[in-house]
Subunit: 211 residues, 3 copies
Amino acid sequence: MPETEFATTLVTLDLVGIFVFAVTGALVAVRKNLDIFAALVLAGVTGLGGGFIRDVLIDATPPAALTDWRYLLAPVAAGLLTFAFHPAIGRLERLITVLDAVGLSLFCVTGALKAVEYGLGPAPAALMGMVTAIGGGMLRDVLAGSVPVIFEGALYATPALCGAVVAVLLDRTDLPIVVVSAAGFTTCLVWRLLALVRGWSAPLPRGPANV
Amino acid sequence: MPETEFATTLVTLDLVGIFVFAVTGALVAVRKNLDIFAALVLAGVTGLGGGFIRDVLIDATPPAALTDWRYLLAPVAAGLLTFAFHPAIGRLERLITVLDAVGLSLFCVTGALKAVEYGLGPAPAALMGMVTAIGGGMLRDVLAGSVPVIFEGALYATPALCGAVVAVLLDRTDLPIVVVSAAGFTTCLVWRLLALVRGWSAPLPRGPANV
Amino acid sequence: MPETEFATTLVTLDLVGIFVFAVTGALVAVRKNLDIFAALVLAGVTGLGGGFIRDVLIDATPPAALTDWRYLLAPVAAGLLTFAFHPAIGRLERLITVLDAVGLSLFCVTGALKAVEYGLGPAPAALMGMVTAIGGGMLRDVLAGSVPVIFEGALYATPALCGAVVAVLLDRTDLPIVVVSAAGFTTCLVWRLLALVRGWSAPLPRGPANV
């Protein structure tokens, strides 16, 4: 049945997204030489934070993470695995960035489609997709005292918003949910990774002389 | 009809408040030389953050910003306009402060009256007014890594609380909503601006010698 | 009646927890030489923040603090008393830590039991206990620009989680609520204080050489 397929696809993508975001949170803890409990808290906040913000805003409380044990298991497993098997410190920075891009791409799709499911219009649903995608990383960076990744001048929030828009628009067609999700995911991921690799930068404010 | 007038007045004040707060958020991004997407995110968080916190706490979810496109348009317009026409960097500090005071004064009124509308008693409603007013700026400062404006020793949260109290109390009379709002707005704005201009300061903790 | 006893016990513990957490918030403001209004805001955020996060997530909105005036009075009284009678600056650091441990131990119990009352399963309820306990201090540290206490490498979140687990498990027996609460409270407090006194530390990430 399509409904079951829809739910299963969303939950699977959500769990993978939670896992990779949680890994980025735990890696930040490892890089800062924090202990294992701090790593688990940071993994949980990063993995679940964006979804919590979305669920609270669209009135889907209590969030799935509080009623479905798999949503709790994902960040715990991610935190423990990261702590046990983290790669050489020198290579963490790049790994965090790539996993973060994957989480971003997964969450912009699941966030947007869940918002549609809860009755939001296309524009707010796409916005919720972006909020879900950038929320966890924002909380991670604020807690860890880093500059929020969205402010680093790279293109970050925009690919998430576009991935969400693609998912919302295609969701109105007859395409299967897997295709819809894949299209939104790919849009966001390719854009984000290209921006990273090519060093794209967005327009900066003009200097005082131009006023 | 009074009901329509009430709703229209609140929405109008809310939109103006979102716009000016969003401008302060975008100006912080400009001052930090962040790119246009960071400016839009910071504009959105600053403009909508306080209202989101309020709506989530008083159970008015999904917040108006997710069902009414004007609430989304306001911060986007504010962000783009700020980015395009920002004044000389040297003068931004003062401009942010004044716009912030206007947003503070608008939101303490709309926050308090919306809380009353949702059945809260006078004291919590006034508190919600203050939270709405200081919430967006608090999120902005935390994200941007600045010292939260409420901690700078100037009088900030108190005028917002008093403006909210004035609005809540006058709302129980027969006065038209425009007058109620104007009284609360003026109370907060005059107090805040006087505190800024005159360099008022609140009692500081006594030193160790006084213990 | 057990139901009344249950409610009374929870509310009492909640109020004491709010008070001591609010004192830690106000002490941070005093230590940073912030003015009295900043101290009150920081007291309110620290005392009420954890419970707000919990109530929003378990859909218990509006939170008790917005419908019961005692919940508002507690942080205000804590802020004013702290401001008036704060002890010598040199001794604040330790006092904040001990009060924080007491608040942590109170909130992990009340947070978990309230979540059970709202229908959450044992594991998510224990998690909510931990979130309630660490939420206020986390917001305090983020706003005050300190390193979140949970990241300092001491054992912080774990005793809160264990206290919550003890409370949730004992709550399923016939034990009176006072005993259940005391057991959870003691578990968390003893663990946390021992960790502080003995300088316990949790496993740290292995160095790059071990990869």
